[in-house]
């Protein structure tokens, strides 16, 4: 009896905040309203989708994915050793270290990103430091590097936590068993620990890549006013230009691309799981 009503909030929530909005976006994507959004003369059209594939927009899309990919790879390279280190420390320090990874997320996202403006600006702390040790100032703010840095800084915990969880749950006996069979530490890592942590890597990569590919806050703050990523482009359609149809089409295409990359990732993951890495 009780079990029956447990799924009601979920259904209600999903319909109201996932299904209906999704339908609306699909609706706007495939329609036009030549006399304005408030006029009741919507007609079916594919021109929004065609517009998305114009070279100018494709370039922005490509750049977004490029930067998101770079940020994801950096997060993985930083996050995996960090997660590995945390998983292999004593219980007491483990909690402290996880706290240190998570605490920045308690702070407001905008505030955290604004802070980088102060650090990276022409007369910011970073250039003050360079000046102090006698090196020439460099302009990082409002470049791709600043945007990638902002992504890495904000999304690193989402890479560390799932990998840490998988590594911590790993049975230590497997390491004993591999060593018993003659494996050195590097072989144990390559053939046991790393392959078994792939599910953690897959969820970490998804959780970093998706928000990084669609962000508009990080790119507009650290990339400067003219900086365009797909997130900014979509924001512009809805907030400034008022072309909901094109904005929806962009969103749909972004979703499809993210979906495709996730399917590829997950397929890779389950292939590894069943047949081994040799």
């Amino acid at each position: 009896m009780f079990g029956k009503i447990l799924d009601k909030p979920f259904i209600f929530w999903s319909v109201l905040f996932t299904l209906i909005p999704l339908c609306l976006i699909v609706f706007f994507c495939f329609t036009t309203s030549p006399f304005g959004l408030d006029q009741v003369d919507y007609s079916f059209s594919l021109e929004n989708l065609q517009k998305v594939f114009e070279p100018m927009y494709m370039k922005i899309m490509l750049k977004s994915f490029q930067l998101a990919l770079i940020a994801t790879v950096i997060c993985l390279l930083l996050g995996y050793p960090l997660a590995y280190k945390i998983a292999n420390t004593s219980m007491k320090w483990q909690q402290v270290m996880v706290m240190l990874v998570v605490v920045p997320m308690w702070m407001n996202f905008l505030l955290r990103t604004y802070a980088w403006l102060l650090i990276l600006g022409t007369n910011g702390y970073f250039n003050m430091f360079l000046d102090f040790i006698g090196l020439p100032k460099i302009e990082i703010l409002f470049t791709d590097a600043a945007v990638v840095l902002g992504m890495v800084y904000n999304f690193l915990p989402f890479m560390v936590l799932p990998i840490f969880t998988v590594l911590r749950k790993m049975d230590n006996k497997l390491v004993d068993a591999a060593r018993d069979l003659g494996a050195t530490d590097s072989v144990i890592f390559r053939r046991i620990i790393f392959p078994l942590s792939i599910p953690g890597i897959v969820s970490g990569v998804s959780m970093v890549f998706m928000p990084a590919a669609s962000t508009f806050v990080i790119s507009s703050l650290l990339g400067g006013g003219q900086y365009m990523l797909i997130g900014n482009l979509i924001e512009e359609q809805f907030m400034r230009i008022g072309d909901w149809h094109f904005g929806s089409a962009l969103s749909i295409i972004l979703m499809v691309f993210i979906l495709i990359s996730m399917i590829i990732m997950n397929k890779y993951d389950s292939d590894e799981g069943s047949s081994g890495l040799w």
């Binding site: 004993d176 068993a177 060593r179 018993d180 003659g182 494996a183 050195t184 053939r191 081994g276 890495l277």
Partner: protein, 346 residues
Amino acid sequence: MSYQIIKVNNLVKKYDNEVVVDNINFYVNSEEFVTILGPSGCGKTTTLRMIGGFEVPDGGEILFKDKRVNDIPSNKRDVNTVFQKYALFPHLNIYENIAFGLRIKKIKESEIKNRVREALEMVRLVGYEKRSINAISGGQQQRVAIARAIVNKPKVLLLDEPLGALDLKLRKTMQIELKRMQQQLGITFIYVTHDQEEALTMSDTIIVMNDGKIQQIGTPIDIYNEPENAFVADFIGESNIFDGVMKEDYKIFFENGTFECVDSGFNKNENVDVVIRPEDINLSSNIDDGILGKVKSVIFKGVHYEMVVETNFNKWLIHSTKCFKIGEKVSIFFTPEDIHIMRKGE
């Protein structure tokens, strides 16, 4: 020619100042099946892990063919282990699990294929190569764990309660299989278990441990028939253990009477433990003779009945194929050879 392949001298292990293995000494002959037997927490697994190289001793030494190996890591020792919960690699199929050790040794693919097949034949799992280890039963996982170890042809195989997770019937089958494999392969087995029956069935030598100390080392027959102290007597099969006083050689006082026995060499009037096996005792409903008692409980155990008989001084555990009724008056009989006298532990 058999020789002492492993020697353990004054071995000590402590965890946070608690002594887990307390100065133990023993040796293992090549091609021998040795079982370390004891209740949980007696230090048997820790001892095995030190031999395997997973724990570093805090004192004493472990010798392999007279070479000290205390500081040699497990991946450099000529020993393989079958772990308690198998510790199979979940991301590799059965073939790759077994081939793991051989691949590390950079053995040719064709030879790996042959040796994995031999190992699979040994554990009777031919045809399962491609299966995922999550898709097979506990008993089969256990066989894969054994195959993964023996495929490396170690001089010594360590087994840490490998049959613990299996049901009774499968455990009995596997006991016989393990013994067969050990004889066929000519590998030294060091087997850790808390199951006395398992130890008696398979071992050439049993090392009984309790509280980090060795209680007795001997053949299964010695351990069963001539337990050195009350702990061993009680742990290996069930026993009646009574307080007694050694009046003089071959005369023991207990149960308010003096009985003839076959033990000597004790002090006059020394307090001792008197041990009598439940299956060595006979009951009779003719109550003119023997020790008088009353049947308190009867449990059917299959081959025999397990009865508790209460006398004026003790409760006796008795195994008999004859059934007596609860409340029935009976007399207890045994011969001098059935009485085992043991010095009291400190």
